[in-house]
Symmetry: D2
Subunit: 305 residues, 4 copies
């Protein structure tokens, strides 16, 4: 059985006003997640705004994360860039810095076929001796990892897991069914709002961005599901769905990405977890009215007094 | 009046079998284009497979190009990466290496609004003292540079030009109309197959990928249009449309991108311009049957005996 | 509490070789569904190939259905056509013929805004004294009924329910949460493969096309969920997921719609429920090899010896 | 050589406040177009809001149109509905009422493959003895008539022409090239804003919606192109592009379709051609502020004092 499972939040990357990483805040985020009982951490994912960071910053983040986590939970690292050989470079750095597994998307900017996606994962697997997790995120890369692609890669050992952020729950279910005999493969949903149902389907883990704000909620949800108490799981999920509505507060004024991660950061600042809610360029930060609205939602969810 | 105009091919990047850049072949490509009378060259664009190259390789390509071109024609350089500050890093390198202008897309992987796109260009303009050309390529970045975005950036001086590879000729025409008074702004179409009509609309330049294969044809087309001989321009364009059909020979077996640029490379190899038709990973090269079919098309176009 | 709930299959419309409706087979389909314990029937939906039927045929189908059903379960009728006043005409016919409720999509062919969609439903509601169910099926009408649109219509009483075939389970969940206090509103999922999880979320009903083939399975699934036995519900669902794979047998040779409904008809013919698997023009019927493969899947699901 | 060619406007359908057709206004529209020198009229197309009209209204419109046109120019009639046999019914009515040709889209609501689209046209051709024009309008039917589909249908005689409203000018050009030897086939662009360039490519006709407002402009443009005066054609086109901006005046408040055809009707009312600018449900009419802005654009285009 794989050591990867459970609640594995994609870690928000707090920034200083000069756009450098705010490592003291970053350390507090990691401690906050581990203290709450999360089963792993996923750094340098989309929620971490990985795509805004250059190679040196990425290396620093991984090394800092490895030092803080210190083996207490698995450290999963996103190695996200457009094409195969650039990903290989990131993967080597991640392995050297102590990643337990790396997370790889389909190529992007370049338009790829499923056949090229298969080769992409195989080339990376052959080039770096580190476990690969496939990341299905069509909203960012504009191609879906099809069921057959994921199943083929898992069966031939090219990947050890999947993070499914496609929103296609039916397809995710078929991957679970197809790989049911492969006990060493773990399949995680990237959704925040259908975690109870993904667990009912048999998902091995969940990667909810908003767990940065409320990790305890997702750990309770996970525990309820593990003991088969689906009523409790559902009730916790519904509370978290209401909390998740912070991501739409700024939508329209800013892009969906800026509204969502900006809301996470704004909430974490209100909760004292991080010092500032600075966003990388060209994203704009949330404003005062939006912050006030987010604070209301935090209060309704029982997170803020 | 701007110094940028005319036929400005996006330069194919020939590779060695070990995936390094084949500089002797690369030099021949540049000489081939300049000898044919092209009015500029655009290196490190989508046709150059820029997105597959790491920072060091990009720097080497720019420096090599600057040395070969040596001021004979303007050197325009793509600085294409997902987010603002990463693009700024590339733009500084390009400027230092002698670029006359740099070409910038909207952010990608991250989903952006038009407002964030405006800021993206403004931040880059403020950070680097080099002329910016906006690159509208929704097929790669999955967002359109809207007419109002382009016109706003041009009017405020943030960009000096546009390369429109969106296929939306009506929108391109409105940009031409809206900016007709701005004589220092140049608007180029990225299409290969409607160059005559783009020139009739008033386009200032054209960036046809297949000009790597047949630059003389596009120079003749440009000259015919300049003297108002639209019948000759159309006739030349129709011949080039038939030549352009090489890009579909391998489609289906490989992705559209691999089929298209693979066809350019295959044709250039058949014509003796470059030594090999190697593709960057995960793209596959064209096979023998596809090469034979491409050679047939080259013969029909009068390029091969 | 609404009288609508439970398993409400969208009824397949069997055809004769001359493309007229095969009413003896049609009657058997209805009896098959009601005998199995289905809680309602939905005729003239997408699975019924409503869009291929003219006004007279639709009227005949409704009248025939009303006669066969004879009040044993609710009769829900699709009134699907592109624009408001054409839908009103169908709705009047459906009401006169005995429909308990009618199912209305967003307008199609014409591109509409959410505001026009709101008006569309309100105009129909005002014109015909019959209960409306909103049908969210973006794959056919190419616009999503947004959460706020559905909630607004439900709260103002313009609709009494929703059939959600959008595949967006997160959005469906929010509609359930937003309307939790409205006990007279029923929300149904159109999915076949996530019925257990939709019921865990609190869905009031399910509209699975493949229930035409195996209604007993979905009734068992519903009953398991009603008594809170989620393990049994999941197990039944997983069996049905394997059965559902018949819809992909012909995909590629014919369109997805023809492959899916063609598979339902082919399976129902193999099971002796209907006499022929004729498809309306321009759809092609499944061939012998595809039928053999479908029979294999039926055997694996325990439906065929 | 075909009798179809030139400027063939899609005729706006004026409505009375009770949503019936305003035939006196409708007659004036037809006379206005024929007097201006248009070479044909296309009734019951998308611009005619065909999809809002029931069978009886459509029949009345065709019969009225045939009576008014009275053979002075060809009468082309849209027979637009979702599926094959429903289109056949409309086509028979159109033929009986005097249509010179009928215009057929791909199926819609149902998702179709290119193979099914081929069969769709063939079934209609076999069922009705009337000339078919293929209508490529992916924005409404959500599938493209691919180049090979159009060329196949034209070569086998199933269609005699094409109305291309896809905005894909490159693809249109290839259809022109592929069918250059078929002198009996006519290919028309549905665009308003690239008519000069479509004619340079060799288009046989143009179907501009805004010709309802300014038919003289398009006739002048056509005539300039016929005599090879591309400078004059371009200049006329640019004036018409500025006029066409009326279609965006209401966009955002209402859907794009309502904004566009609503603008045509509003302008035609201001010009005294029709009596009211009523829109079919659920579309909203333009308001006073929007009308005032449209009148300004009409004045700038020299159409209103």
């Amino acid at each position: 059985m794989t050591k990867f499972k459970g609640v594995v939040p994609p870690v928000v990357t707090p920034l200083n006003p000069d756009l450098t990483v705010d490592y003291p805040s970053y350390t507090r985020v990691l401690e906050h997640l581990i203290d709450a009982g999360c089963h792993g951490v996923f750094v340098l994912g989309s929620t971490s705004e990985v795509i805004f960071h250059d190679e040196k910053t990425r290396r620093d983040i991984i090394e800092h994360s490895a030092k803080v986590v210190n083996g207490r939970v698995p450290l999963i690292v996103g190695v996200i860039d457009p094409t195969t050989d650039r990903v290989i470079t990131h993967a080597k750095v991640a392995k050297a810095a102590g990643a337990d597994a790396v997370v790889v998307t389909a190529p992007f900017y370049t338009v790829t076929s499923q056949s090229e996606i298969l080769d992409h994962f195989r080339y990376i697997r052959d080039a770096v001796d580190v476990s690969l997790v496939a990341y299905d995120i069509p909203v960012c890369v504009h191609v879906k990892l099809q069921r057959q692609t994921v199943v083929t890669l898992a069966r031939e050992g090219a990947i050890i897991g999947l993070k499914d952020s496609s929103g296609d729950d039916g397809n995710f279910r078929y991957a679970l069914l197809d790989l049911a005999e492969h006990k060493d493969v773990f399949l995680m949903t990237g959704s925040e709002i259908v975690v109870d149902t993904a667990l009912l389907m048999g998902a091995h883990g969940v990667v909810p961005g908003i767990a940065n704000v409320d990790p305890h909620g997702y750990v309770r949800l996970w525990n309820a599901a593990q003991r088969g108490d689906w009523t409790a799981a559902k009730k916790e999920q519904e509370r978290l769905c209401r909390l998740f509505e912070i991501v739409w507060v700024a939508q329209g004024r800013v892009s969906g990405g800026a509204a969502g991660i900006g809301a996470f950061k704004t909430a974490m600042r209100s909760l004292g977890i991080i010092d500032s809610a600075v966003m990388p360029r060209p994203r704009a930060s949330l404003n005062e009215a939006e912050t006030a609205r987010i604070d209301e939602i935090l209060r309704a969810a029982g997170l803020l007094n």
